[in-house]
Each structure stands twice: as structure tokens, then as C-alpha cells.
């Protein structure tokens, strides 16, 4: 059951009623009902996924409970054990096949005896693992002073964030769920934000996701430089609208439940440097990498060279977090390298427009690694960018119009959401419901038969 289906919208009505009852009657009831609905939601993808979620929740609870005891002697050892346990699960389920198949090409004899196991990687595994690690580290640091079993279960399974974040912190989420007063929610604003996310996904993303756009990243050697260039711009628009659309849906749902979650995007393509881009793109992941990788490595409190190295390590890890693939590793590494280069100020920041232009084009070029199956295909793509033949497939009015729409959404969606929310709030609740219902119906009506999966589901 996906967020953008009629079935989910009906399912959410039940959750909303239980959540409100919980807020009125008992916080415990509210939390348990949210856990039950979250597990059921996850179960609908695959029964085995909930076993993974259960296991990771228990491991997290055990280690974080031990670490909240500040007088305990072996805290550092247990911190390492806790992180290692979560990473082991992550590696076993997500990276093992990739590691073995990659190494077996070079060392077939040594790896002959290792049998690959056919296990399905749970959706959202990287998000759940990172949330779990953040809680374990936060209890060690003392940022989280106590944990409850119910809260840990809810924190890791909270359904709006289960599949593709944002990577919320324990305190931020649990403290809000523990509140009983839901009267201050701007309900219509969050409901519209949900509709806005569904619109972005079902209409704009579906329009951007064409056979030609897919094909251009699969067999780039077939296409001209103009097509390939347009392809990376269209993909830049596609990934932003797809992922920010998911965040709109996720934050809209959380908001309707009375939980305000962190934002993941802030006009990322208007960044004038790569490091600024990472403050505006997938913000919850950037913050996680900063707090739990970059700063523990020494951050900028070390020498220049070590600081640059830390940046490259952190960004490479952010890359490999996305998936078991050399392309992601290279993508992350190059982002790290470009951040370092921008610190050495190869391209200055005097003219903001020039900075934005260069940064956007560099980011767009790096998406090639992100969206191709292998390094060979990525290199073919780069090679094709100097293939000036005259066949243009993607250069159409429709695609240019889509790019313009994407720019408008990127720059002005906050204003659109605010203005429409203010407009809706002027009416009585009955008309607000009718208005939102018509919007959703129009979106469903205009959407094509099939829409692609959210890109970030695979991570």
C-alpha cells in the first residue's frame, strides 16, 4: 500500500481517529495504536520486513537502555557493540551480495565456498538503521537520558518516515507524540501539503518519467549530446520533485497527526557551492552524517589536510549509504572532493549567480553516477556529452515546459503551500474538506495509469 493510493487515504482516516482518541484518552494508547498501524503498513509490503523491524528495535532498545546508565563502566564497549550490531544487520541484508559478487570476480577461488543467500532487503533499511544508530549514540552522549520500549518501537517504525525518512531524532519525535494537546495543529495546511506531495508525485514525476528518460541513462551511447545534457537536467528535476514530494507527503501525514517533522529540502539547486547544497538537500541525512560521522572524526577541529580527508570520508559514506554499488561510492567521493575543492576556493563565491550556475551543473553531472547501473554506463554517458549528432529525442516543448514547471515548484512551492493554506482556512471545515477532496480527485483523475516508485524507497 503506497501513500499515493486511494486505499492509503482511506486507511489513514482510521489512523487519524485512533490518534485523536489517544490524544484525548491516553498517550500510551496513542503510541501503541501508532505502532500497530505502522507495523501493519510495513507488513503489507512483506511479512519478513516486520521481523527485521522487530529485531532492530529490540537490539536498539537493549543497547540504548544499557547506555543510559552513565555509571556503567563498559559504556564505550557497549556503544561499539551496539553500532556494530546494527551495521552487521545492514551489511548482511543490503551489502553482502554486492561485496561477495564484486570480490568473486577478482578472487574466485577464495570465495568459492561462500554461498550467497536469497534474502529480500527490507524497504527503508538504511533509514531505519541510521535512526537506530543515532539513538544508541545519543544515549551514550547523554542527549537522550532515558528510553522506553514503546517509544523505541514507535521511533523506529513511525510509518510516515519508515520508508524514506526524514531521519528524525528520537527526542524530537517522541516528545511530540507524548503531548496530548492537538488543538494547535494547522490541520488544513498539513492536509494540503499531503495533497501537494501527491500532486508532485502522480502528475509531475509521472510526466518527467518517460521511456526516453529511462533509456538515456540505460543506453547513453544511442543519444546525442543535446539529449544527454537535457537528460541530466530532466533527471535533476525528477529526483528533486520525487524526493521532495515524498517529504511533503511524509511531513503532511505527520503534521495531521500532530507531529511536526524536520524539513529535508530548502531550494537545494539555488546553492552557490557544493557544501551549501548539502545544507539544502536531504538535510536530515546531511545532519546525520555531520553529527555521527564528520564531527566524531574530528570535524574541522583538526589540521587542514585531516579536515579535508574527513570531509571526503563522510561524503563517501553518504554515497555508499544510498546503495551497494560502486557508482554511489564514486558519487559520494566526488561530492566530498568538490566540497574540499570549494574550500580551497577554486571557484570563488563573489558572484552568486555564477556560483549557483556552476554548482547546479556540477550536481547535475554527478547525478549521472547516481542514476546509471554501472561505471561503464556512466562513462559512456560522459563520452556521449561530446557526441554532437543531430538527432534530438528529448528536446521537445513538453520537456521544456516540464523543466519550467520544475523550476517554479523548486523556487515557489513554500509560497504556494502557504497561500493555499491561508485560503482554505478562511472557510468552514465542511468546505475545507470538499476543497481538499476535489483537489485529490483531480490529481488522481489527471494521473497516468502507472507511476514510478519513489526513488528513495530503494535506500
Amino acid at each position: 500500500m503506497h501513500f499515493t493510493t486511494y486505499e492509503f487515504i482511506a486507511f489513514f482516516a482510521v489512523i487519524l481517529i485512533f490518534n485523536s482518541l489517544g490524544a484525548l484518552l491516553n498517550t500510551g494508547f496513542r503510541k501503541i495504536s501508532l505502532i500497530v498501524f505502522s507495523y501493519y503498513f510495513y507488513y503489507l509490503f512483506n511479512f519478513e520486513f516486520i521481523l527485521f523491524l522487530l529485531a532492530i528495535s529490540i537490539i536498539t532498545f537493549v543497547f540504548s537502555t544499557i547506555l543510559t546508565n552513565r555509571l556503567f563502566t563498559f559504556r564505550k564497549i557497549f556503544l561499539s557493540l551496539g553500532i556494530l550490531s546494527i551495521l552487521s544487520v545492514l551489511v548482511a541484508l543490503k551489502y553482502f551480495d554486492f561485496i561477495i559478487t564484486s570480490l568473486s570476480t577478482y578472487f574466485p577461488q577464495i570465495l568459492q565456498s561462500i554461498t550467497l543467500v536469497d534474502i529480500i532487503t527490507p524497504i527503508g533499511i538504511s533509514y531505519i538503521s541510521f535512526k537506530s544508530i543515532s539513538l544508541i549514540i545519543d544515549t551514550y552522549r547523554g542527549t537522550v537520558s532515558s528510553v522506553k520500549l514503546v517509544d523505541v518501537f514507535l521511533y523506529l517504525s513511525f510509518f510516515p518516515q519508515l520508508l524514506a525518512g526524514p531521519i528524525e531524532r528520537y527526542n524530537g519525535l517522541i516528545s511530540q507524540i507524548s503531548l496530548t494537546n492537538l488543538s494547535n495543529i494547522d490541520f488544513s495546511k498539513y492536509a494540503f501539503r499531503f495533497c501537494w506531495g501527491v500532486f508532485k508525485k502522480l502528475i509531475i514525476v509521472s510526466a518527467l518519467f518517460s521511456n526516453d528518460l529511462m533509456s538515456i541513462f540505460q543506453i547513453p551511447e544511442k543519444y546525442s549530446a543535446i539529449d544527454l545534457l537535457l537528460g541530466i537536467y530532466l533527471f535533476s528535476a525528477y529526483i528533486f520533485i520525487d524526493f521532495s514530494g515524498y517529504t511533503d507527503i511524509s511531513n503532511g501525514l505527520s503534521g495531521m497527526l500532530g507531529i511536526k517533522c524536520g524539513e529535508n529540502f530548502n531550494k537545494p539547486y539555488s546553492a552557490s557551492s557544493i557544501s551549501e547544497f548539502w545544507k539544502k538537500w536531504h538535510i536530515s541525512l546531511s545532519n546525520w552524517i555531520r553529527d555521527y560521522v564528520y564531527i566524531p572524526l574530528g570535524g574541522n577541529r583538526v589540521g587542514k589536510f585531516r579536515n579535508y580527508l574527513n570531509l571526503i570520508i563522510a561524503m563517501t559514506l553518504a554515497g555508499i549509504w544510498h546503495g551497494a554499488n560502486l557508482n554511489f561510492l564514486i558519487w559520494g567521493f566526488l561530492h566530498g572532493l568538490l566540497i574540499v575543492l570549494s574550500r580551497i576556493s577554486l571557484f570563488g563565491n563573489r558572484f552568486k549567480f555564477v556560483g549557483v550556475f556552476i554548482t547546479f551543473n556540477l550536481i547535475s553531472l554527478l547525478w549521472i553516477f547516481f542514476n546509471t547501473e554501472s561505471l561503464d554506463v556512466a562513462f559512456e554517458y560522459f563520452k556521449g556529452l561530446i557526441n554532437f549528432n543531430s538527432d534530438y529525442i528529448l528536446l521537445s516543448y513538453a520537456n521544456i515546459a516540464l523543466l519550467i514547471i520544475a523550476i517554479i515548484i523548486h523556487n515557489y512551492e513554500d509560497q504556494v503551500i502557504s497561500i493555499v493554506s491561508i485560503f482554505i482556512n478562511r472557510f468552514r471545515f465542511f468546505y475545507q474538506g470538499i476543497f481538499l477532496g476535489i483537489i485529490l480527485w483531480l490529481v488522481f483523475e489527471l494521473a497516468p495509469e502507472t507511476t514510478p516508485f519513489f526513488i528513495y524507497y530503494q535506500f
Binding site: 574466485p108 550467497l116 490541520f187 521511456n211 474538506g433 495509469e449 514510478p452
Partner: protein
């Protein structure tokens, strides 16, 4: 309390409006469609040339040489692969790894052109959801292929919308109905001067129940391929089954490197899996075309 009730009210009214529109649309939307009107015709028997009587004293070597000469002569008469235009259509398999690998192989043989169109979640069963006959007409208006390669079935293990009614999967007429859908679809290509339609069969999947559906679909395809001369069925089942006939997610190459053949869902293919299917397609093409 009042705010809470108001919020729930807003949401329930939203849901109600959406449901009303949805149910209104449902009652009118099921499109009508007519089946390909011609009755199933069993293709005429192939022309079998009369053989001249073989001399009794002929040696084995000369028979082998003669056979080779005949084969060479036959191959020389076959159309060259590099002179052909290909169309690849299907569901997510064609949009993804399988289609990509077949297209890459064809481009390696420097064929005139390849046009690939894949629509995920579609198939032959649900023309109410996505009408492939209509889409095919659109494609054939702009593109005239010589050979068509099709892969459908992954989404077809369900009731079929046909003759303004649903034919359920357990209905005894399901197989025949599916076969007629395939016939109707492929006939569109034959009517547009397509030489051959190659239909890639479905493979075993991780899930037993799903594999059973795929077997059922393959049987309908095989049945039609036996009736229609230029409709060629390509089996892929064995390529992804181990020696006991069970689902195979990985394989080890003769050199010892390990490969993942299937995607996470146990239904789709990785690029390595797609390459195996592309090999099967090329083998079948070699029977009719000169490489």
C-alpha cells in the same frame, strides 16, 4: 475536543468527496472492447520440399558436407540481421534490464534501428487499465518494424477483462481467453508487415504461487506459437532454475565469479539476468536471420 472533531471532519469529508468521485467514475469507465473477430485459424502446414532419393553408396562425410552446404545455402538466403528494424514492447521487464540487454545486443549487431517501449504494471489481462492494442496502433503509425520482441505476463496472473466481462483466473476459459488476447495483439504486427513476433516467456519466480501463474501464461503462449508459424516463443524458465528445478537467484560462472541474476523482488531481473535472456533471444533470431 472541538478542534479534534473538526480535523477529523475535514479529513472524512475529503475522503467522502474522493470516494464519491471515484465510485461515480468506476461505474462508467470500464471500456468496451471487441475481440479480434476472426476465429482461431490453425496455420497451414509448412511446405516440405520433396527429397531426391539418396544414393546407397554415399559416405558419411559426404552426407555431413552436403548437409553443411544445404545449411550454408539456407543461411545465405536468410535476411541479414543488420538490415532489420526492431521493436521491443512489454512491461517493466522491457523497460528495465531485460529490454536494455536485448537492445544492447541488437545494437551490437548494428541493426537498422531499435525502438523500445515498456510500460510497468501492464499486460494483456487488463486492457481496462492500459490498452496495449491502442498503444500499438500509435507506435505502428510512426514506426515500421520488421521484427517485434515482446515480453508480457508478469502482471497478467489475474482476471482478464474481455467481451465486457471478467474472466477469472480459475475459469476454465482463462487460458483460451489469454491466448486470444495474445493473438489479437500479435496480429496487429502481422497486419503491418512484421516478419516475426518473438515472445519472451516468463521465468520461474521466488514465489511458488506466482510461478504457477507464469506457467499458465507460458502454456497459453506455447499453444499459440504452435498454431501461428511466425509467432516464436522463447523459453527462459530453465535459465533461472537450478538442477532440481527450483528458483535460482544467483549463479556462479565457469570462471568462478558469482552473479546475482534476479532483482530484490524475485520476479524482475538484474543486468546479468537480462544478458542471459538476451542470449536466448539472439539464439532464436539466428534460426531465421543471418548474423
Amino acid at each position: 475536543m472541538e478542534t479534534l472533531l473538526k480535523n477529523i471532519g475535514i479529513y472524512l469529508i475529503t475522503l467522502l468527496v474522493l470516494s464519491l468521485f471515484k465510485s461515480y467514475k468506476l461505474s462508467f469507465e470500464l471500456e468496451t472492447e471487441t475481440f479480434y473477430s476472426q476465429s482461431n485459424q490453425i496455420s497451414s502446414p509448412k511446405y516440405i520440399p520433396e527429397l531426391s532419393p539418396t544414393p546407397i553408396s554415399i559416405s558419411l562425410d559426404s552426407i555431413i558436407n552436403k548437409t553443411k552446404e544445404v545449411n550454408d545455402a539456407k543461411i545465405a538466403l536468410m535476411p541479414k540481421i543488420s538490415e532489420l528494424k526492431f521493436l521491443l514492447v512489454g512491461d517493466s521487464m522491457i523497460q528495465g534490464a531485460v529490454g536494455v540487454q536485448i537492445e544492447k545486443r541488437l545494437l551490437d549487431y548494428q541493426v537498422v534501428d531499435v525502438y523500445r517501449f515498456g510500460k510497468p504494471s501492464t499486460g494483456m489481462s487488463r486492457s481496462d487499465f492500459f490498452n496495449w492494442n491502442r498503444k500499438t496502433d500509435e507506435i505502428l503509425k510512426d514506426y515500421s518494424p520488421d521484427v517485434v520482441i515482446v515480453m508480457f505476463g508478469a502482471n497478467d496472473g489475474q482476471s482478464i477483462w474481455a467481451d465486457k466481462k471478467w474472466v477469472k483466473l480459475d475459469d476454465p476459459f482463462w487460458d483460451a481467453t489469454y491466448e486470444r488476447k495474445v493473438e489479437e495483439f500479435s496480429q496487429k504486427f502481422f497486419d503491418n508487415n512484421v516478419k516475426n513476433v518473438y515472445w519472451v516467456g516468463n521465468s520461474i519466480s521466488r514465489y511458488e504461487y506466482y510461478s504457477e501463474y507464469m506457467k499458465k501464461i507460458n502454456n497459453a503462449l506455447i499453444s499459440y506459437s504452435q498454431k501461428k508459424e511466425n509467432f516464436i516463443y522463447i523459453s527462459t524458465w530453465e535459465d533461472f532454475s537450478d538442477s532440481s528445478g527450483n528458483y535460482m537467484h544467483f549463479t556462479t560462472t565457469p570462471e568462478g565469479s558469482k552473479k546475482v541474476l534476479r532483482a530484490e523482488d524475485g520476479i524482475h531481473f538484474t543486468n546479468d539476468g537480462g544478458k542471459i535472456i538476451a542470449d536466448e533471444v539472439v539464439e532464436k533470431l539466428k534460426e531465421k536471420f543471418r548474423f
